[in-house]
């Protein structure tokens, strides 16, 4: 997975995306605030939805409780990965 390292920790880009989703935002806005291309945001969001780090609300995306914990408290060992 591009967002989650094999040891379960988040990549730098995943942390940046999750930080940008502390409040609900459209993907285009996340791309601008993180300076990442939109295709990377779409691809990463797909992975983070699967991992339960992000949820979709009325067309916008936001970090879940687990996602917020990951960027606030560094609970890096709780994300499931497929090795």
């Amino acid at each position: 997975m591009a967002c989650i390292n094999p040891d379960g920790t988040l990549t730098a880009s995943a942390k940046a995306i999750l930080s940008a989703l502390s409040s609900p935002a459209a993907l285009e806005k996340v791309a601008k605030s993180t300076d990442l291309p939109l295709f990377r945001i779409r691809s990463s969001i797909r992975e983070m939805l699967e991992a339960g780090l992000v949820e979709k609300e009325e067309g916008k995306y936001a970090a879940t409780k687990l996602g917020r914990e990951k960027i606030e408290g560094g609970k890096d060992d709780q994300v499931k990965t497929d090795l």
Partner: protein, 220 residues
């Protein structure tokens, strides 16, 4: 005397066609798993190279990296591909950065199962049964295939031509015009020829730079 019957079987090769939706795919890349739909809203230059750690491909990757900022200005993304593993791609792009001082900013598809290569007709068995040729597919923000370039294994592509092609396609879309041979941005463009006799008669009075009714140019 026994008669010999020679049968030849040829695999049906799928080839994408201009003006039609580009074939959808999901692929593992050096920047994670991407789908064609992830690029919706941007221009996409999907290109293939024969193999990692080969000299012509290395010069091309450096060339694509060099035009990457110019492509970004044009809202165009790059996506490479070859029939190599993602580990091979990672090792190669790291090698290019270490030995050549060029960082590769775009993702590269690891198409080991040849899924995308087959969808886009990138493998030409007359050249190589296992390697992809040097193909370029220009896909517009709506996902329509707008241009294709095929080069043989021996010949590196011209990056300036790829930029020129994007400029020409974007100019066509914006101004509803065509572009002549060797056109460069800032030069006169071709006014689409008239469709009726009445339009042909009016064309010469419309203030364009015309050689004849069917051949008129204008400055943008």
């Amino acid at each position: 005397m026994e008669e010999k019957v020679i049968t030849e079987t040829r695999e049906a090769v799928s080839m994408p066609r201009l003006g039609e939706p580009a074939p959808a795919f999901e692929a593992v890349t050096t920047q994670g798993t991407v789908r064609l739909e992830d690029f919706k809203g941007s221009w996409l230059i999907l290109f293939s190279h024969p193999a990692d750690f080969t000299p012509v491909c290395t010069t091309e990757f450096m060339g694509f990296a060099e035009i990457h900022p110019e492509l970004k200005k044009r809202e165009a993304e790059l996506l490479g591909l070859s029939v190599d593993s993602v580990s091979s791609h990672i090792a190669w792009v790291r090698n290019i950065e270490e030995k050549m001082g060029v960082k590769i900013p775009f993702p590269v598809i690891a198409d080991l199962d040849k899924n995308v290569a087959t969808l886009y007709g990138m493998i030409h068995p007359g050249e190589s049964k296992t390697e992809t040729s040097r193909c370029v597919f220009v896909i517009d923000p709506e996902g329509i295939l707008r241009a294709m370039i095929y080069y043989p294994l021996t010949t590196g592509r011209n990056m300036q031509e790829i930029l020129r092609l994007i400029d020409a396609l974007q100019t066509t879309d914006k101004h509803k015009v065509a572009t002549p041979a060797n056109w460069e941005p800032g030069e006169a463009v071709i006014v689409p020829p008239p469709n009726t006799q009445e339009m042909a008669e009016e064309r010469l009075k419309e203030g364009y730079e015309c050689k004849d009714w069917y051949f008129c140019k204008k400055k943008l």
